[in-house]
């Protein structure tokens, strides 16, 4: 069923909160938010720990939160990690509960592996790989994948490009051969490139009318500058898309989609010997080291705090983003920052949502996240708020962020945040796709594959002092950027009156191509 037409009205969910806390990390999906971190805990803390009496054996006292038993241990998957002769790394989890196989073939480098002036190239290549190969037309590929009951999808983020496949075990060999063909032999037909380019350009126009997208794009550009890859849209701009050539597409494919840049993460009903023989057949003759992506320079430093307004005349709400360039995924403060963010804006009961939604009623949902990438990614706090309370909401954002480094987090609140992260680990390994995602995200950032085994201990070790130290190091509301897409005529005056910093009006809606 197509989600584009779903009319369900959600009260709240990780999805809807993340939906407004989203950043565009994949060009194919406009609001694909990073998952909040979670985990499992081996020691039960909190709600009425103790022996649960046998149900029905005594009168129920409803005023008491039910006692809980012992958590069941989550068996983390056994991981095989090896390299094929052609240089492709393989990460395999054998799990036979269902007759399914899920995989991600990941390549180092995405939108940050080409200059900002080529914005959109990585995702354009991802869109083009299944638009035809030396022996299969685009329609042949789409038809065959559907008939196999498979799903095959390619995409690019900033730090990696990937092709994902999920299929029944019985159809895995056929599906794998299509995937290999798509990766190894795309023909990039000129006519299809022009059609895809035209669709892209129309999407750029469409995005310019979506307030949340305007705020996201402006936020990235304010933080990183238009010349830094993290400051550029993964989708691309009108200028960059019009300038890209078939040669650019082919060159990026040659450099990135090579076995020397590749890691295959597989989970499912499959043994290593079978997998290796299928891989040898499907990827026969595939060689090459590709080109290692160059390390990214840091962004040019910004002046102190300022408020940036993207004018959207008549907007029904203001899309607010508050934040700064923060940390890379390899930060030594990973756990303190993750716990800190859970308290501040990473869960429904977090401070931002409690204040802006449940207390003030300014918004449908407020949240925050650290988007940790290979190079320092943004910290971003976000909400869509009613136009008339835009200034008040900004004050609350700044105050709640300030409080993280000024006041010790109360023990009970900290405990709730650690539990929330740690106890959710089993849910994050529920499906085969989940297992593949959890491991693939480690591969992207060169994190050791035993990371999840140490996750609970890592979360548990975070105390009040560690949260405070991380906040003081990483959250400085005195120099954050506040970016707002909304009705300038209604919000500019009140924002200036706050005296929180200069109010800068960024160019309004770009002129459409008509």
């Amino acid at each position: 069923m197509n989600t584009g037409a779903k009319l369900m009205v959600a009260c709240w969910s990780a999805v809807s909160l993340a939906g407004c806390a989203a950043t565009t990390t994949q060009a194919g999906v406009d609001y694909d938010a990073p998952d909040p971190e979670t985990g499992k805990r081996t020691v039960t803390i909190g709600v009425g720990a103790g022996g649960g009496g046998r149900a029905g054996s005594q009168a129920l006292d409803r005023s008491q939160v039910p006692a809980v038993g012992e958590p069941e241990a989550l068996e983390l998957p056994g991981i095989q990690d090896y390299t094929m002769d052609n240089g492709m790394r393989v990460v395999l989890v054998e799990r036979s509960a269902l007759p399914l196989v899920s995989l991600e073939l990941q390549f180092r480098g995405g939108g940050a592996a080409h200059p900002a002036r080529q914005a959109g190239l990585a995702s354009l290549v991802a869109d083009m790989v299944d638009e035809g190969t030396a022996t299969r037309s685009a329609l042949d590929i789409a038809d065959a994948v559907d008939l196999l009951g498979a799903s095959l999808a390619s995409s690019a983020g900033y730090d990696a490009s990937q092709v994902r496949l999920s299929v029944l075990r019985a159809r895995f060999p056929e599906a794998l051969s299509i995937l290999a063909d798509v990766v190894m032999n795309p023909s990039f037909p000129e006519a299809d490139l022009e059609r895809v380019r035209r669709e892209r350009l129309a999407r750029v126009v469409q995005r310019s009318d979506v307030p949340a997208a305007l705020a996201e794009d402006a936020f990235a550009e304010v933080l990183y500058g238009a010349d830094h890859p993290y400051g550029a849209s993964l989708l691309g701009t009108r200028e960059s898309l019009e300038a890209l050539t078939r040669d650019d597409v082919a060159a990026f494919h040659r450099a990135r989609y090579a076995p020397g840049q590749a890691t295959l993460v597989v989970a499912g009903d499959l043994k290593r010997a079978e997998l290796d023989s299928l891989l040898a057949g499907a990827f026969a003759g595939w060689t090459g080291s590709g080109v290692d992506p160059a390390p990214l320079a840091g962004p040019a430093p910004r002046e102190g705090r300022a408020i940036y307004v993207v004018d959207k005349p008549g907007a029904a709400q203001s899309e607010v983003r508050v934040g700064d360039v923060a940390v890379a995924r390899d930060t030594d403060a990973y756990y303190p920052l993750t716990v800190l963010n859970t308290v501040l804006g990473g869960s429904f009961t977090s401070r931002l949502n409690a204040k802006l939604r449940e207390e003030k009623g300014y918004t449908y949902g407020a949240g925050s996240f650290f988007d940790m990438r290979r190079a320092p990614g943004p910290f971003e706090a976000t909400a869509a708020v009613a136009t008339e309370v835009t200034d008040s909401a900004v004050v609350d954002f700044i105050r709640e962020i300030e409080r993280m480094s000024a006041e010790t987090v109360p023990a009970d609140e900290l405990d709730r945040a650690r539990n929330y992260l740690a106890l959710r680990l089993p849910q994050r390994f529920e499906s085969l796709d989940d297992v593949v995602r959890r491991l693939a995200e480690l591969v992207t950032y060169d994190v050791p594959l035993d990371f999840w085994a140490g996750y609970v201990a890592g979360v548990d070790a975070v105390d009040e002092a560690a949260v405070m130290a991380a906040a003081q190091r990483m959250l400085d509301p005195g120099r954050m950027a506040v970016v707002i897409a909304g009705d300038r005529s209604a919000i500019e005056g009140p924002l200036k009156a706050l005296g929180l910093g200069p109010v800068v009006v960024l160019g309004g809606r770009p002129v459409s191509q008509e």
Binding site: M1, N2, G4, A5, K6, L7, M8, V9, A10, C11, W12, S13, T38, T44, G46, V47, R54, A55, R62, S63, V65, P66, A67, V68, E72, A97, L98, P99, A142, L148, G149, S151, L168, R171, R198, A202, V205, D209, A315, A316, Q317, T349, E358, G361, Y362, Y364, A384, A386, R416, N419, Y420, A422, L423, R424, L425, P426, Q427, E430, S512, E514
Partner: protein, 436 residues
């Protein structure tokens, strides 16, 4: 985990999700589906109430009420519901739709009783916790939800416009689930109390527990928390008139000039209700048309004719009178919306010559989506609740694949000829133009 119990010539396993059907003496229907593979358990409740039950002047109320269900109950203060589930490492949510409202959480399995306690406390004892401040707060939150998800989105009023065309004034699907701001403003605490007493009763609900639980204890646990909640009275009839002619009788339309950058043509058709066997044919036809890049609309309009930049199709599963099949196509900048609509109309009528291979592909795609969704206990629980509430038949989940495979190309062709022509068509077009 669902088990594979056979294979067809195509090699696709037929799923079998284990389940048991029970009930309590107060009328609460219970579905159990045991699977200890991952130490998590889903608790899922469907109430037989949605926007179709809203009286005149209270559109949007079923959804506002759903928000109020998270504002506490006799033994659970405001915010505690979320706090306790999050502290347990669980996830939770609720959704409101035309015919039902659902509430669900997935928690580590040793926290099953926490979820049962929270759900039973608000099913039985929500009203003592209600007050005016909470209602005003959630009214503001819901208004912001409407602003964010509808009013501040391009084409954000399309569903409101389309429902008005497909369903007459007196029909319960004439208005949207999100409703109107004025009606939200008019809602009172008395409305909350009467809605609760009428619809939030155990004999108007289904509880499904799926995943890792103790099969020997689970019914005792359910009985312990839900058993003492008294049943409700007879449900009032659905307001208005749910009866409908099967076809619209003509093409009805709403042509909008709006502050949007790209033209869009949207079409909807009355189709058989969800409990009619004909709905499955509509679902397959819908997938032939618009699901995936090998679908007919994508292939013809996006790839070959290059008349559209994207296409969408969706078959609403609705119970009262008629469901609705929806398609839309978004055009390129500067394109004529009239030509876009004409192209879309041609392709809809063209489905009357649907080929065997197209139908085979569509069935395969629908099967794949179903099988994959069942990997999550939350999804399994949700589908079991739905089939029990709507059809008193959770086992239908295990027959879905057979039902889909029973749809032939001639069924799809007949459906297209009967339903997808100009005599049963509602059209909303958006033409870019000026400021709003």
């Amino acid at each position: 985990m669902p088990k594979s119990v056979g294979a067809t010539p195509r090699g696709t396993p037929i799923l079998s999700v284990p389940f048991e059907q029970r009930s309590l003496s107060n009328g609460l229907r219970v579905v159990l589906s045991h699977d200890p593979a991952v130490p998590v358990v889903a608790v899922n409740l469907w109430y037989g109430v949605g926007s179709r039950n809203e009286p005149e002047g209270r559109t949007g109320f079923a959804h506002l009420f759903e928000h109020m269900m998270f504002q506490g109950s006799l033994n659970v203060p405001k915010n505690r519901h979320f706090e306790l589930v999050e502290r347990a490492g669980g996830t939770l949510n609720a959704t409101t739709w035309f015919d039902r409202t659902n509430y669900f959480e997935t928690v580590p399995s040793h926290h099953l009783e926490l979820a049962l306690w929270l759900e039973s406390d608000r099913m039985g004892w929500m009203l003592p916790a209600m007050d005016r401040d909470k209602l005003d707060n959630q009214r503001d939150v819901v208004k912001n939800e409407k602003l964010q998800r509808y009013d501040n989105q391009p084409y954000g009023d399309w569903s409101e416009r389309l429902q008005r065309l497909v369903y007459p004034r007196e029909h319960p699907y004439h208005h949207t689930v999100i409703g109107s701001m004025d009606d939200l403003d008019a809602a009172t605490l008395d409305d909350v109390a009467s809605f609760f007493r009428t619809y939030y009763v155990p004999d108007n609900a289904v509880l499904t527990v799926a995943g890792d639980f103790d099969p020997a204890r689970v019914m005792d646990q359910v009985e312990r928390y839900f058993g003492e909640i008294p049943p409700g009275g007879a449900l009032p009839p659905i307001p208005g008139n749910p009866e409908l002619e099967p076809l619209l009788g003509s093409t009805v339309r709403d042509d909008v000039v709006a502050d949007v950058p790209l033209p869009r043509a949207i079409m909807a058709f009355r189709i058989p209700p969800y409990d009619d066997p004909g709905f499955t044919t509509a679902e397959v036809a819908c997938a032939v048309l618009g699901t995936g890049r090998a679908s007919r609309l994508y292939r013809r309009l996006v790839r070959e004719r290059r008349a559209a930049k994207d296409v969408v199709s969706y078959a609403y599963p609705l119970l009262s009178g008629a469901s609705m099949l929806l398609v839309w196509a978004t055009g390129y900048p500067g394109a004529s919306v009239t030509e876009l609509e004409a192209a879309l109309g041609e392709e809809m009528e063209g489905l009357a010559d649907a080929a065997e291979e197209e139908v085979e592909r569509a069935v395969a795609v629908l099967e794949t989506d179903l099988v994959r969704s069942l990997e999550q206990v939350g999804e399994r629980a949700d589908l079991l609740s739905m089939f029990e509430l709507f059809f008193s038949d959770p086992g239908r989940l295990n027959r879905e694949v057979d039902q889909l495979r029973g749809v032939s190309a001639s069924d799809v062709r007949r459906f297209a000829a009967e339903r997808l022509g100009p005599a049963n068509r509602a059209v909303v077009t958006y033409r870019p133009g000026g400021g709003s």
